[in-house]
Assembly symmetry: C2
Homo-oligomer: 361 residues x 2
Amino acid sequence: MHSLGEYFDEFTHRDWQTRDPTAVSDTVRIAVVGLGWFTREWALPGIERSGFTEATVAIDIDPDAVATVADEHDLIGLTPEKFRNGVASEAYDAVYVATPNATHLEYAEIAADQGAALLCEKPLEASLDRARRLVTICDDADIPLMVGYRMQTDPAVRRLKELLRGDFIGDVLHIHGTMSQTMLGELGEETGQWRLDPDLSGGCALMDIGIYPLNTTRFILDADPTEVYGHTRSAHDPFEEVDEHATFQLRFPDDVRALCSVSQNAQHASRLEITGTDGQLILDPAFYEREARELTLVRDGVESEIEFDPVHQLEEEFAYFGHHLLTDTNFVPDGEHALADMRVLDAVYESAATGTPIAVE
Amino acid sequence: MHSLGEYFDEFTHRDWQTRDPTAVSDTVRIAVVGLGWFTREWALPGIERSGFTEATVAIDIDPDAVATVADEHDLIGLTPEKFRNGVASEAYDAVYVATPNATHLEYAEIAADQGAALLCEKPLEASLDRARRLVTICDDADIPLMVGYRMQTDPAVRRLKELLRGDFIGDVLHIHGTMSQTMLGELGEETGQWRLDPDLSGGCALMDIGIYPLNTTRFILDADPTEVYGHTRSAHDPFEEVDEHATFQLRFPDDVRALCSVSQNAQHASRLEITGTDGQLILDPAFYEREARELTLVRDGVESEIEFDPVHQLEEEFAYFGHHLLTDTNFVPDGEHALADMRVLDAVYESAATGTPIAVE
């Protein structure tokens, strides 16, 4: 157990990073695929800030985006075709994929062909079957695969997990997770649009938003759901073909229950509340990269709110990616880890379609 | 729509009370049955403060409790047998019943026999069948029956309901309700004990605690659940025979979902969070008579926390009861209203036993 002083001093420290200053002297060079809002606003700055990574190549189906980003960041700009043909493949060690979900597989194939490490955005693909193929391709080519769960390297989440492990709130009983936004308002019509196409996204509220409370809960509990029960709902144009809103319930081992609601068309909010026999841990706001997290600890009625200088979540994620590649360390959020989410999401959609709880294998 | 000034000025006003000062000049005289912790700490002070009620008679199976309370409040003390035989029946107009759930029916029979109005604590009885019999007895005797849902006369809940009706948060999408306590620690071994006996209580976490988020959600939505899905869990001695923890999900018309967790053996907490297309309404703390409520309004990202001098919830409840009897006005929380809760609780226990969602008729 930390002393109170150490707890404050080390709140944002990277517990996953080697303390040997000579262990990492290089940087991982990254080809960035998909130059949408998130890549430009968050991933590229994260790569530049991380210390263990640098962007060298930019790829997109939109030549204007490639020209703009390559110019702004001094990168080699490529079309997907040139990228596939190995043009400039000597300029990168790893590939970051932040394209619509259903195109992750094709870019994973390119990374595998070239023996480059892969950092793939979540959800891993648009369907469980395609996600499995993606993992197999990386396994067969023996390339390292990490999936971009930015919450897992956020200090608030890591400290929360430590408190759970340290029995700070006793036995965990139930968890409530909520996350909502007005997708088209907050991300813009253009950025939001592909998520409305089920062929490209595989689903909307659950795939894009539901994965946050789902994966964060799995991460902090260090456990996987054994049964799910879920509902989806679409009330408004233009969400006819995908889930606009969803609720789902996860059953974890020891009968812990997580009750979650997500929406792509509601008041912006996010919260994760864990109740145990002896305390509560509350992250609110919880899940948005563009908001500071605040962690509330409650134990035996004594309450403490912890506010801290927010980390740049993508700086932390890329630092973890680069550091682990350079030190030859396995990723926690690897392909198998991401497939567990895909199985759960698949089961929630099945539960929503059938109206019954579904066991997760 | 109120002006902002009126909103503050009228936040705690009794919107259910007649504005005619001459309409009510009498008081309702109440026989109080069941002299446990809640009656002594909350109900008797509420009766004394309400202005429309006064306690005149005290009944309990424990003669020491009767003697102590009768002496302290200057009441006529009776054994249940004398009460049943109509001793001092000319001294009360109404009966308040705050005994273990499975004994409500026998005291309702006495009130019915004597033509006295009845304010019965919730849950209405220990089983749906007995609750139905209780309502039938009151109907047949044509005595007014109100059920003690103290949240319904709390100004925070009434203002919250007005905001929902006034479309303050747009379409309601999902609701999260949590309520937990350490029953034996907070209420004391003696007070808590009967809730551990399924013959007396009919259940524990759901019957005693789950009814708060359930009924408050029904009240604010003005709607009843059409389907439920629930789980119960008992991990610790002495909760072997009843539900120590429970989670349940309620489906309301328009596909609104309420996700609730309750516990009799967890960190004390309570919260009700309603998310809509355009805003959120949050009551936290929400459900305990011994805590002030705080209401947070969020609309289009603008947030406002409303703190106010807490009302005495039992003063408000008894004022409503007395006022409505004296003005010959129907109660909103009447027998039929309470039976809807009993049907839902029955369905949640059935869902927990079968592992499947259950339609509520």
